[in-house]
Symmetry: C2
Subunit: 271 residues, 2 copies
């Protein structure tokens, strides 16, 4: 069974798609054809959206499902007149929120993923630059870091740092434990002094070998033996130093980032 | 008026927070205290959540608002017994979806932001590495790029590329137009040959000067005059070459990324 879902918004459609993804993952037996329609903010674009919804519904032989986060009610009513099944975030939740808060909402478009607060936004950009400049041992001056991820090369540090910087404005640095560090069996002094900011990442050695293999095929670096040695030595070192370590093998960037922030007690508002 | 909102989930709580943010931005007159509670996946953690909700409600003198994306119904019922006002994504939308699809949902935790599909996930990681390695002119071999952002230094190319790679698995490269490129008034040949992949970013010269000022204070690079010259020359060059250009001054990363993908007709499923 194939069904079409639309993510429609007057802004980026990121909220609509996030909401929609969470819900469609609960129906693993259905194959979904996904269509994103951002910036649907006038009657003409609404008309085009309705046409697309109706065409998909006819093609599938069943109504398309529409996740809608358009704020303007008159534009929403245009979309509502389509053949699709409408799941409308604002229509559904604004009224219980108004009741709970005792005030009416003030409709404004694109606030969720726009530049709401310039200071906060600059902090976010600054954190992203910080993560870029403190990636992979490029700079090991961690005095301004909010946190430092440590682990062997290719265990998932870089994307996790970028994610935390982009979405939580966290100055996330990372440092790859080198075979030399592992031989010494102690953290380099530039890390030790920031021990309270350190979080370890670990990975299954076989998985690590696969990942390194695509990067440097048939190298010693990618060999299962080398990977096993490094992963074991890193685990010992981090345990000895009392550093909390998370397993990344089956975790997504979002899961690792959420666990790291929870571990460090960092309550940052998400972008 | 101050009110506490909770984002509670058995997974990362990213969906709950995204949903919640979109809704609370519609109430600009209310000050919200935001509490994220990810990985609430057993009775003990639910009990702790209820306690926190009740304490916040008593402190505020009004019930906390709870955005809940816990899948398990028995855990949800524990949270429901708190003093908070419950806005429950799954309880609200699963039933209309089941009706529309004609099948029951299969409850599974953490699918929305987990590693659902290893191939897709690896593609995402690969795209992130690609963006890191094709940032800021480091490599100008764009043959494998899905797109290349061009514009003057510090106009927003890097964070936008990282965002597109992390969230859409897009191999997004970028190239900073140098004063030398602008003097020549033509694109370097390694860019010209991929003209169909190019998108320009532009920025207000005064804003650019502020941004560069924090990076290299009192430099020629940051001077309003230099910024104005570069921005004007880049605009002329991109217009002459027929390259669509987006203004970044008042746009967020998410907005720029969404517009770029829409422009290039790239329908990628979001991570």
């Amino acid at each position: 069974m194939k069904r079409t879902v639309f993510f429609i918004s007057d802004g980026t459609a990121i909220t609509a798609e996030t909401l929609g993804h969470s819900l469609i993952t609960q129906f693993p037996g259905v194959e979904f054809d996904q269509v994103r329609m951002p910036f649907v903010d006038d009657l003409e674009k609404c008309g085009a959206a309705v046409k697309a919804i109706n065409q998909a519904s006819q093609r599938d032989g069943a109504p398309a499902i529409v996740f809608n986060t358009i704020v303007d009610e008159s534009l929403c009513s245009v979309i509502n007149a389509s053949e699709g099944v409408m799941l409308d975030l604002f229509a559904t939740f604004l009224s219980p929120m108004e009741q709970a808060l005792g005030v009416a909402h003030e409709p404004t478009v694109g606030r969720a993923h726009g530049v709401a607060n310039l200071d906060r936004y600059e902090h976010r950009m600054e954190a992203t630059n910080y993560a870029m400049n403190h990636d992979d041992g490029v700079s090991v001056d961690f005095r301004d870091a909010d946190l430092v991820l440590v682990g062997v090369s290719r265990c998932g540090k870089t994307p996790t740092c970028l994610y935390m910087a982009l979405h939580f404005g966290v100055r996330a640095a990372n440092y790859p434990l080198t075979p030399e560090d592992l031989d010494e069996m102690r953290l380099p002094s530039f890390l030790r002094r920031y021990r309270h900011k350190l979080v370890g990442l670990s990975i299954d050695p076989e998985r690590l070998s696969q990942i390194r293999q695509t990067r440097k095929p048939d190298s010693r670096y990618a060999s299962p033996r080398q990977c096993r040695m490094e992963v074991d030595a890193a685990a010992n070192l981090l345990r000895m130093e009392g550093i909390t370590t998370f397993e990344t093998t089956h975790a997504s960037i979002e899961e690792i980032a959420s666990r790291v922030l929870l571990q460090l007690g960092m309550q940052r508002e998400m972008f």
